[in-house]
Assembly symmetry: C2
Protein backbone atom coordinates (compact mmCIF):
# COMPACT_ATOMS: atom_id res chain seq x y z
CA UNK A 1 0.00 0.00 0.00
CA UNK A 2 1.48 3.28 -1.15
CA UNK A 3 0.81 5.48 1.83
CA UNK A 4 1.46 8.67 -0.11
CA UNK A 5 -1.50 7.96 -2.39
CA UNK A 6 -4.25 10.42 -1.38
CA UNK A 7 -6.83 7.68 -2.04
CA UNK A 8 -5.64 6.02 1.14
CA UNK A 9 -5.78 9.10 3.39
CA UNK A 10 -8.17 9.84 6.21
CA UNK A 11 -9.66 6.43 6.72
CA UNK A 12 -11.05 5.80 10.15
CA UNK A 13 -12.11 2.53 11.74
CA UNK A 14 -15.09 2.46 14.04
CA UNK A 15 -16.71 -0.30 16.03
CA UNK A 16 -20.40 -0.30 16.82
CA UNK A 17 -22.33 -2.57 19.17
CA UNK A 18 -25.97 -3.60 19.15
CA UNK A 19 -26.36 -4.83 22.72
CA UNK A 20 -29.53 -6.84 23.35
CA UNK A 21 -31.12 -7.92 26.56
CA UNK A 22 -34.45 -9.22 27.82
CA UNK A 23 -36.09 -6.97 30.43
CA UNK A 24 -39.66 -7.09 31.69
CA UNK A 25 -40.44 -9.87 29.21
CA UNK A 26 -39.35 -7.74 26.26
CA UNK A 27 -36.29 -7.72 24.05
CA UNK A 28 -34.47 -4.42 24.36
CA UNK A 29 -31.49 -2.76 22.77
CA UNK A 30 -29.10 -0.26 24.32
CA UNK A 31 -28.87 3.23 22.82
CA UNK A 32 -26.86 6.29 23.79
CA UNK A 33 -27.88 9.91 23.24
CA UNK A 34 -25.18 12.01 21.62
CA UNK A 35 -24.05 15.36 22.94
CA UNK A 36 -21.68 16.56 20.22
CA UNK A 37 -21.55 17.10 16.47
CA UNK A 38 -22.40 15.47 14.22
CA UNK A 39 -25.98 14.47 15.06
CA UNK A 40 -26.24 16.32 18.41
CA UNK A 41 -29.11 15.04 20.60
CA UNK A 42 -29.67 12.01 18.35
CA UNK A 43 -29.69 8.48 19.69
CA UNK A 44 -27.04 6.08 18.45
CA UNK A 45 -25.71 2.60 18.98
CA UNK A 46 -22.73 2.71 21.33
CA UNK A 47 -19.71 3.09 19.07
CA UNK A 48 -16.31 4.64 18.79
CA UNK A 49 -12.99 4.68 17.01
CA UNK A 50 -10.43 1.87 17.15
CA UNK A 51 -6.97 2.71 18.40
CA UNK A 52 -4.16 1.53 16.16
CA UNK A 53 -2.76 -0.71 18.89
CA UNK A 54 -5.88 -2.76 19.67
CA UNK A 55 -8.03 -5.20 17.74
CA UNK A 56 -11.67 -4.42 17.02
CA UNK A 57 -13.19 -6.54 19.76
CA UNK A 58 -10.94 -4.94 22.37
CA UNK A 59 -11.87 -1.50 21.07
CA UNK A 60 -15.57 -2.31 21.18
CA UNK A 61 -15.40 -3.56 24.76
CA UNK A 62 -13.40 -0.49 25.77
CA UNK A 63 -15.95 1.79 24.14
CA UNK A 64 -18.82 -0.02 25.83
CA UNK A 65 -17.17 0.33 29.19
CA UNK A 66 -16.39 4.01 28.64
CA UNK A 67 -19.78 4.98 27.23
CA UNK A 68 -22.17 2.70 29.14
CA UNK A 69 -20.25 1.14 32.02
CA UNK A 70 -21.24 -2.33 30.80
CA UNK A 71 -18.70 -5.10 30.80
CA UNK A 72 -18.70 -8.90 30.63
CA UNK A 73 -21.18 -9.55 27.88
CA UNK A 74 -21.24 -12.08 25.08
CA UNK A 75 -20.21 -10.59 21.77
CA UNK A 76 -19.98 -11.57 18.14
CA UNK A 77 -18.95 -9.75 15.00
CA UNK A 78 -21.69 -9.64 12.40
CA UNK A 79 -21.06 -7.19 9.55
CA UNK A 80 -18.93 -4.35 8.28
CA UNK A 81 -20.60 -1.16 7.09
CA UNK A 82 -18.37 0.61 4.63
CA UNK A 83 -20.40 3.07 2.60
CA UNK A 84 -17.87 5.89 2.09
CA UNK A 85 -20.53 8.48 2.93
CA UNK A 86 -21.88 6.85 6.06
CA UNK A 87 -20.32 9.58 8.17
CA UNK A 88 -20.60 13.25 7.18
CA UNK A 89 -17.22 13.97 8.78
CA UNK A 90 -14.84 11.59 7.05
CA UNK A 91 -14.55 8.14 5.56
CA UNK A 92 -15.32 5.92 8.48
CA UNK A 93 -15.71 2.18 8.32
CA UNK A 94 -17.78 0.48 11.03
CA UNK A 95 -17.29 -3.06 12.26
CA UNK A 96 -20.61 -4.18 13.70
CA UNK A 97 -20.96 -6.36 16.78
CA UNK A 98 -23.92 -8.04 18.38
CA UNK A 99 -23.75 -8.03 22.13
CA UNK A 100 -25.94 -10.08 24.44
CA UNK A 101 -26.37 -9.76 28.16
CA UNK A 102 -28.91 -10.67 30.80
CA UNK A 103 -30.32 -7.65 32.54
CA UNK A 104 -30.31 -9.12 36.04
CA UNK A 105 -28.44 -6.80 38.45
CA UNK A 106 -27.27 -4.69 35.52
CA UNK A 107 -26.40 -1.04 36.07
CA UNK A 108 -25.64 1.37 33.27
CA UNK A 109 -23.72 4.62 33.35
CA UNK A 110 -26.05 7.38 32.18
CA UNK A 111 -23.74 10.21 31.28
CA UNK A 112 -20.26 10.59 29.84
CA UNK A 113 -18.21 13.24 28.11
CA UNK A 114 -19.79 12.49 24.74
CA UNK A 115 -23.20 11.13 25.66
CA UNK A 116 -25.99 12.70 27.69
CA UNK A 117 -28.03 9.54 28.27
CA UNK A 118 -28.03 5.76 27.90
CA UNK A 119 -31.26 3.77 27.75
CA UNK A 120 -32.76 0.39 26.95
CA UNK A 121 -35.25 0.67 24.08
CA UNK A 122 -37.97 -1.75 23.10
CA UNK A 123 -37.31 -2.87 19.55
CA UNK A 124 -40.59 -1.31 18.45
CA UNK A 125 -39.58 2.03 19.95
CA UNK A 126 -36.13 2.48 18.43
CA UNK A 127 -36.14 5.91 16.74
CA UNK A 128 -35.84 5.80 12.98
CA UNK A 129 -33.55 8.81 12.95
CA UNK A 130 -30.60 7.28 14.76
CA UNK A 131 -27.26 8.97 14.10
CA UNK A 132 -25.24 7.95 11.04
CA UNK A 133 -26.48 4.70 9.43
CA UNK A 134 -27.18 3.20 12.83
CA UNK A 135 -30.80 2.40 12.04
CA UNK A 136 -29.67 0.23 9.15
CA UNK A 137 -27.09 -1.38 11.43
CA UNK A 138 -29.76 -2.00 14.06
CA UNK A 139 -32.01 -3.76 11.54
CA UNK A 140 -29.14 -5.92 10.32
CA UNK A 141 -28.18 -6.80 13.89
CA UNK A 142 -31.74 -7.77 14.75
CA UNK A 143 -31.97 -9.98 11.68
CA UNK A 144 -28.72 -11.66 12.71
CA UNK A 145 -29.95 -12.11 16.26
CA UNK A 146 -33.04 -13.91 14.97
CA UNK A 147 -30.95 -16.36 12.99
CA UNK A 148 -28.53 -16.86 15.88
CA UNK A 149 -31.17 -17.61 18.45
CA UNK A 150 -32.62 -20.33 16.25
CA UNK A 151 -29.37 -21.85 15.12
CA UNK A 152 -27.15 -21.50 18.17
CA UNK A 153 -27.20 -21.50 21.93
CA UNK A 154 -26.76 -17.75 22.46
CA UNK A 155 -30.06 -17.60 24.33
CA UNK A 156 -27.90 -18.72 27.25
CA UNK A 157 -26.36 -15.23 27.32
CA UNK A 158 -29.77 -13.57 27.54
CA UNK A 159 -31.07 -15.44 30.55
CA UNK A 160 -30.22 -15.17 34.24
CA UNK A 161 -28.60 -18.12 36.00
CA UNK A 162 -31.92 -19.72 36.90
CA UNK A 163 -34.96 -19.51 34.68
CA UNK A 164 -38.18 -21.36 33.93
CA UNK A 165 -39.14 -23.04 30.69
CA UNK A 166 -42.00 -20.57 30.13
CA UNK A 167 -39.49 -17.71 30.50
CA UNK A 168 -37.16 -19.37 28.01
CA UNK A 169 -40.02 -19.79 25.59
CA UNK A 170 -41.01 -16.15 26.00
CA UNK A 171 -37.53 -15.05 24.91
CA UNK A 172 -37.86 -17.03 21.71
CA UNK A 173 -41.32 -15.68 21.13
CA UNK A 174 -40.42 -12.01 21.57
CA UNK A 175 -37.28 -12.19 19.45
CA UNK A 176 -38.84 -14.23 16.67
CA UNK A 177 -42.23 -12.55 17.04
CA UNK A 178 -43.95 -15.93 16.87
CA UNK A 179 -45.87 -18.19 19.26
CA UNK A 180 -44.88 -21.75 20.10
CA UNK A 181 -46.89 -24.57 21.63
CA UNK A 182 -45.85 -24.85 25.30
CA UNK A 183 -45.75 -28.61 25.36
CA UNK A 184 -43.83 -29.08 22.14
CA UNK A 185 -41.39 -26.30 22.96
CA UNK A 186 -40.65 -27.99 26.27
CA UNK A 187 -40.16 -31.38 24.67
CA UNK A 188 -37.86 -30.03 21.97
CA UNK A 189 -35.69 -27.93 24.23
CA UNK A 190 -35.29 -30.58 26.91
CA UNK A 191 -34.14 -33.19 24.43
CA UNK A 192 -31.36 -30.85 23.27
CA UNK A 193 -29.64 -31.62 26.55
CA UNK A 194 -28.47 -28.04 27.11
CA UNK A 195 -30.34 -27.32 30.32
CA UNK A 196 -31.04 -29.17 33.54
CA UNK A 197 -33.69 -28.97 36.21
CA UNK A 198 -32.34 -27.51 39.46
CA UNK A 199 -35.19 -28.96 41.54
CA UNK A 200 -36.07 -25.44 42.71
CA UNK A 201 -39.36 -23.79 41.85
CA UNK A 202 -40.52 -20.23 41.36
CA UNK A 203 -43.10 -18.91 43.81
CA UNK A 204 -45.83 -16.34 44.37
CA UNK A 205 -47.13 -16.54 40.86
CA UNK A 206 -50.77 -17.26 41.59
CA UNK A 207 -50.63 -20.57 39.77
CA UNK A 208 -48.65 -23.78 39.64
CA UNK A 209 -44.99 -22.84 40.05
CA UNK A 210 -42.61 -23.66 37.22
CA UNK A 211 -39.35 -25.53 37.77
CA UNK A 212 -36.16 -23.50 37.69
CA UNK A 213 -33.66 -24.68 35.11
CA UNK A 214 -30.06 -23.74 34.44
CA UNK A 215 -27.76 -24.20 31.48
CA UNK A 216 -25.32 -27.05 31.79
CA UNK A 217 -21.99 -25.40 32.48
CA UNK A 218 -19.82 -27.28 30.01
CA UNK A 219 -21.92 -26.47 26.94
CA UNK A 220 -20.63 -23.38 25.18
CA UNK A 221 -22.47 -20.53 23.51
CA UNK A 222 -22.59 -20.50 19.74
CA UNK A 223 -23.20 -24.21 19.45
CA UNK A 224 -25.56 -25.13 16.64
CA UNK A 225 -28.73 -26.43 18.17
CA UNK A 226 -31.45 -26.50 15.52
Amino acid sequence: MDISNPLYRNQGIHVVCALFTVKDGEVKILLAKRSNNPYPDKWMLPSGAVYNNEDCETAMKREMLEKTGITNFYVEQFHVFSNPNRSPVMRMLAVGYIGIINSENLKIKKKTEKTQDVEWFKLSEVPEDLAYDHHEIFLYALKTLKVKIIRTNIVKALLPKYFTLPELQKVYEVILNKKFDRRNFRKKFLQLGLIENTGMKESNKGHKPANLYKFIQSKDYDVDIF
Copy 2:
Protein backbone atom coordinates in the same frame (compact mmCIF):
# COMPACT_ATOMS: atom_id res chain seq x y z
CA MET B 1 -12.86 11.06 16.51
CA ASP B 2 -10.01 13.40 17.26
CA ILE B 3 -7.89 13.05 14.16
CA SER B 4 -4.85 14.63 15.79
CA ASN B 5 -4.65 11.77 18.32
CA PRO B 6 -1.66 9.62 17.29
CA LEU B 7 -3.62 6.53 18.34
CA TYR B 8 -5.72 7.01 15.22
CA ARG B 9 -2.85 7.45 12.75
CA ASN B 10 -1.73 5.10 10.03
CA GLN B 11 -4.67 2.80 9.91
CA GLY B 12 -5.15 0.98 6.65
CA ILE B 13 -8.16 -0.94 5.40
CA HIS B 14 -7.65 -4.04 3.30
CA VAL B 15 -10.06 -6.42 1.65
CA VAL B 16 -9.19 -10.06 1.12
CA CYS B 17 -11.07 -12.67 -0.90
CA ALA B 18 -11.15 -16.43 -0.56
CA LEU B 19 -12.48 -17.40 -3.99
CA PHE B 20 -13.68 -20.99 -4.23
CA THR B 21 -14.55 -23.07 -7.24
CA VAL B 22 -15.05 -26.72 -8.14
CA LYS B 23 -12.67 -27.96 -10.83
CA ASP B 24 -11.96 -31.55 -11.86
CA GLY B 25 -14.25 -32.78 -9.10
CA GLU B 26 -12.25 -30.96 -6.42
CA VAL B 27 -12.86 -27.79 -4.42
CA LYS B 28 -10.16 -25.27 -5.15
CA ILE B 29 -9.20 -21.85 -3.90
CA LEU B 30 -7.49 -19.05 -5.79
CA LEU B 31 -4.08 -17.86 -4.59
CA ALA B 32 -1.68 -15.26 -5.96
CA LYS B 33 2.10 -15.34 -5.65
CA ARG B 34 3.60 -12.09 -4.38
CA SER B 35 6.46 -10.28 -6.06
CA ASN B 36 7.21 -7.48 -3.59
CA ASN B 37 7.94 -6.94 0.08
CA PRO B 38 6.73 -7.95 2.51
CA TYR B 39 6.57 -11.73 1.98
CA PRO B 40 8.24 -11.81 -1.48
CA ASP B 41 7.55 -15.07 -3.37
CA LYS B 42 4.92 -16.15 -0.85
CA TRP B 43 1.41 -17.14 -1.90
CA MET B 44 -1.48 -15.06 -0.62
CA LEU B 45 -5.22 -14.67 -0.94
CA PRO B 46 -6.00 -11.94 -3.47
CA SER B 47 -6.23 -8.75 -1.45
CA GLY B 48 -5.57 -5.07 -1.51
CA ALA B 49 -6.23 -1.71 0.04
CA VAL B 50 -9.57 0.07 -0.04
CA TYR B 51 -9.70 3.52 -1.57
CA ASN B 52 -11.40 6.12 0.58
CA ASN B 53 -14.07 6.71 -2.04
CA GLU B 54 -15.35 3.15 -2.44
CA ASP B 55 -17.04 0.63 -0.17
CA CYS B 56 -15.35 -2.65 0.70
CA GLU B 57 -17.19 -4.84 -1.74
CA THR B 58 -16.38 -2.51 -4.61
CA ALA B 59 -12.75 -2.45 -3.54
CA MET B 60 -12.63 -6.22 -3.35
CA LYS B 61 -14.10 -6.66 -6.83
CA ARG B 62 -11.69 -4.08 -8.21
CA GLU B 63 -8.74 -5.86 -6.62
CA MET B 64 -9.90 -9.22 -7.95
CA LEU B 65 -10.20 -7.79 -11.44
CA GLU B 66 -6.79 -6.11 -11.26
CA LYS B 67 -4.92 -9.04 -9.74
CA THR B 68 -6.66 -12.06 -11.28
CA GLY B 69 -8.84 -10.81 -14.13
CA ILE B 70 -11.87 -12.51 -12.56
CA THR B 71 -15.19 -10.74 -12.48
CA ASN B 72 -18.84 -11.65 -11.99
CA PHE B 73 -18.66 -13.96 -9.04
CA TYR B 74 -20.90 -14.39 -6.03
CA VAL B 75 -19.51 -12.77 -2.94
CA GLU B 76 -20.29 -12.49 0.74
CA GLN B 77 -18.57 -10.79 3.65
CA PHE B 78 -17.62 -13.21 6.39
CA HIS B 79 -15.22 -11.78 8.97
CA VAL B 80 -12.92 -8.92 9.86
CA PHE B 81 -9.35 -9.65 10.89
CA SER B 82 -8.03 -6.87 13.04
CA ASN B 83 -5.03 -8.07 14.99
CA PRO B 84 -2.88 -4.90 15.10
CA ASN B 85 0.21 -6.91 14.22
CA ARG B 86 -1.21 -8.88 11.34
CA SER B 87 0.88 -6.89 8.90
CA PRO B 88 4.58 -6.18 9.61
CA VAL B 89 4.33 -2.88 7.74
CA MET B 90 1.56 -1.01 9.50
CA ARG B 91 -1.75 -1.43 11.24
CA MET B 92 -3.89 -2.97 8.57
CA LEU B 93 -7.41 -4.22 9.08
CA ALA B 94 -8.71 -6.87 6.66
CA VAL B 95 -12.34 -7.34 5.69
CA GLY B 96 -12.69 -10.95 4.57
CA TYR B 97 -14.91 -12.07 1.70
CA ILE B 98 -15.91 -15.47 0.46
CA GLY B 99 -16.20 -15.61 -3.30
CA ILE B 100 -17.79 -18.42 -5.27
CA ILE B 101 -17.62 -19.06 -8.98
CA ASN B 102 -18.07 -21.94 -11.37
CA SER B 103 -14.92 -22.73 -13.25
CA GLU B 104 -16.57 -23.31 -16.63
CA ASN B 105 -14.94 -21.14 -19.31
CA LEU B 106 -12.99 -19.29 -16.64
CA LYS B 107 -9.71 -17.61 -17.58
CA ILE B 108 -7.36 -16.07 -15.05
CA LYS B 109 -4.69 -13.42 -15.53
CA LYS B 110 -1.36 -14.93 -14.45
CA LYS B 111 0.85 -11.92 -13.94
CA THR B 112 0.46 -8.35 -12.76
CA GLU B 113 2.62 -5.58 -11.39
CA LYS B 114 2.53 -7.01 -7.87
CA THR B 115 1.98 -10.72 -8.46
CA GLN B 116 4.04 -13.20 -10.43
CA ASP B 117 1.46 -15.98 -10.62
CA VAL B 118 -2.16 -16.85 -9.93
CA GLU B 119 -3.28 -20.46 -9.42
CA TRP B 120 -6.14 -22.65 -8.23
CA PHE B 121 -5.04 -24.76 -5.26
CA LYS B 122 -6.63 -27.91 -3.94
CA LEU B 123 -7.62 -27.26 -0.33
CA SER B 124 -5.22 -29.96 0.81
CA GLU B 125 -2.35 -28.28 -1.01
CA VAL B 126 -2.70 -24.72 0.24
CA PRO B 127 0.73 -23.76 1.65
CA GLU B 128 0.79 -23.20 5.39
CA ASP B 129 3.12 -20.25 5.03
CA LEU B 130 0.80 -17.92 3.17
CA ALA B 131 1.65 -14.22 3.48
CA TYR B 132 0.35 -12.28 6.48
CA ASP B 133 -2.36 -14.12 8.45
CA HIS B 134 -3.87 -15.44 5.24
CA HIS B 135 -3.69 -19.07 6.29
CA GLU B 136 -5.87 -18.28 9.28
CA ILE B 137 -8.23 -16.36 7.00
CA PHE B 138 -8.32 -19.30 4.59
CA LEU B 139 -9.31 -21.70 7.39
CA TYR B 140 -12.02 -19.35 8.61
CA ALA B 141 -13.35 -18.93 5.07
CA LEU B 142 -13.45 -22.67 4.51
CA LYS B 143 -15.33 -23.19 7.76
CA THR B 144 -17.82 -20.53 6.70
CA LEU B 145 -18.19 -22.12 3.27
CA LYS B 146 -19.07 -25.44 4.88
CA VAL B 147 -21.82 -23.87 6.96
CA LYS B 148 -23.11 -21.86 4.00
CA ILE B 149 -23.37 -24.81 1.64
CA ILE B 150 -25.49 -26.68 4.16
CA ARG B 151 -27.68 -23.82 5.26
CA THR B 152 -28.09 -21.81 2.07
CA ASN B 153 -28.35 -22.15 -1.65
CA ILE B 154 -24.85 -20.87 -2.55
CA VAL B 155 -24.04 -24.17 -4.23
CA LYS B 156 -25.87 -22.57 -7.15
CA ALA B 157 -22.88 -20.26 -7.64
CA LEU B 158 -20.47 -23.19 -7.83
CA LEU B 159 -22.21 -25.11 -10.58
CA PRO B 160 -22.43 -24.50 -14.32
CA LYS B 161 -25.80 -23.74 -15.88
CA TYR B 162 -26.62 -27.40 -16.44
CA PHE B 163 -25.50 -30.14 -14.09
CA THR B 164 -26.43 -33.64 -13.00
CA LEU B 165 -27.57 -34.73 -9.57
CA PRO B 166 -24.44 -36.87 -9.08
CA GLU B 167 -22.33 -33.78 -9.87
CA LEU B 168 -24.29 -31.73 -7.36
CA GLN B 169 -23.82 -34.43 -4.76
CA LYS B 170 -20.08 -34.55 -5.46
CA VAL B 171 -19.81 -30.83 -4.68
CA TYR B 172 -21.39 -31.36 -1.27
CA GLU B 173 -19.18 -34.36 -0.65
CA VAL B 174 -15.91 -32.64 -1.47
CA ILE B 175 -16.70 -29.48 0.48
CA LEU B 176 -18.05 -31.27 3.53
CA ASN B 177 -15.61 -34.17 3.17
CA LYS B 178 -18.42 -36.63 3.74
CA LYS B 179 -20.32 -39.22 1.71
CA PHE B 180 -24.08 -39.19 1.13
CA ASP B 181 -26.43 -41.91 -0.02
CA ARG B 182 -27.26 -41.25 -3.69
CA ARG B 183 -30.92 -42.05 -3.38
CA ASN B 184 -31.58 -40.05 -0.23
CA PHE B 185 -29.56 -37.09 -1.47
CA ARG B 186 -31.64 -37.05 -4.63
CA LYS B 187 -34.90 -37.25 -2.73
CA LYS B 188 -33.95 -34.51 -0.30
CA PHE B 189 -32.63 -32.07 -2.88
CA LEU B 190 -35.48 -32.53 -5.31
CA GLN B 191 -38.10 -31.85 -2.67
CA LEU B 192 -36.44 -28.51 -1.89
CA GLY B 193 -37.87 -27.28 -5.17
CA LEU B 194 -34.76 -25.32 -6.13
CA ILE B 195 -33.84 -27.21 -9.29
CA GLU B 196 -35.71 -28.56 -12.27
CA ASN B 197 -35.08 -31.28 -14.80
CA THR B 198 -34.26 -29.89 -18.23
CA GLY B 199 -35.12 -33.13 -20.02
CA MET B 200 -31.61 -33.22 -21.47
CA LYS B 201 -29.14 -35.95 -20.59
CA GLU B 202 -25.38 -36.16 -20.39
CA SER B 203 -23.67 -38.54 -22.81
CA ASN B 204 -20.55 -40.59 -23.46
CA LYS B 205 -20.07 -41.59 -19.87
CA GLY B 206 -19.88 -45.36 -20.28
CA HIS B 207 -22.99 -45.88 -18.21
CA LYS B 208 -26.60 -44.77 -17.92
CA PRO B 209 -26.65 -41.02 -18.60
CA ALA B 210 -27.84 -38.71 -15.83
CA ASN B 211 -30.49 -36.07 -16.36
CA LEU B 212 -29.30 -32.49 -16.65
CA TYR B 213 -30.85 -30.16 -14.11
CA LYS B 214 -30.77 -26.38 -13.74
CA PHE B 215 -31.55 -24.05 -10.87
CA ILE B 216 -34.93 -22.40 -11.04
CA GLN B 217 -34.22 -18.83 -12.07
CA SER B 218 -36.38 -17.02 -9.54
CA LYS B 219 -34.85 -18.63 -6.46
CA ASP B 220 -32.02 -16.50 -5.10
CA TYR B 221 -28.68 -17.45 -3.61
CA ASP B 222 -28.32 -17.27 0.15
CA VAL B 223 -31.76 -18.70 0.82
CA ASP B 224 -31.89 -20.98 3.82
CA ILE B 225 -32.52 -24.49 2.63
CA PHE B 226 -31.79 -26.87 5.44
